[in-house]
Subunit: 123 residues, 2 copies
């Protein structure tokens, strides 16, 4: 435990070995989890600067403004960091479905005793 | 993109090189993000089996039932997986403060233009 990092008021993100931090996006209106992605320092700076969520795509190895091509941007209403500063929480207003499958949230499947089941979009 | 993994109904978690998957916990009552942690296959199995959140502690390199020592367990009400099956969403009833600092949520600090500020616990 690092007292200054855990309780202090200095932003000091703990990036992993790849220079990334986990970013969790919830819908400010519903509280639903929309997506989990990663940011590098530049994505975080751009997110703060522009008010729109930017990420680092690990598969494409490139900076990525969410909604750049789909138009489904995430307007940031609140940005928080956790105790050990290795995760970010973005409360956002989504301009459309967040998931590349067209679902409102990437978390559209429930894990049950018999595998996965689709969750009602309103659920 | 892997169509079967992204849209199918077979649970097929995509563990990282360390055998871990990101797990995001929200409060089922408020929608607030409580914590972000990691699970290995055993932690996920125990979570499903017992209905209480188990994680893998990367710092202690051990399996960990949340609340084991503090009593602040997380009772799972809903468990979901995202499109590419590399993140889990747990909606839980927390038995007490989730954060080791005593805060209700690990995300008790807001990132603003002038650094961090503490967020009202009710916020």
């Amino acid at each position: 435990m690092d007292e200054a990092r855990d309780r202090g008021l200095t932003l000091n993100p703990r990036y992993d070995d790849n220079g990334l931090i986990t970013a969790v996006v919830t819908d400010v209106a519903t509280g639903d989890l929309l997506m989990v992605a990663h940011m590098n320092a530049q994505a975080l700076a751009l997110t703060i600067e522009t008010g729109f969520a930017h990420f680092w795509s690990r598969s494409r190895r490139s900076l990525w403004k969410k909604g750049e091509t789909s138009g489904h941007m995430l307007q940031v209403r609140d940005l928080r960091i956790d105790c050990d500063q290795d995760a970010l929480w973005i409360k956002a207003v989504p301009a459309g479905p967040t998931c590349h499958t067209g679902a409102r949230s990437c978390f559209f499947r429930r894990i049950g005793p018999d595998g996965l089941s689709r969750v009602d979009e309103a659920g």
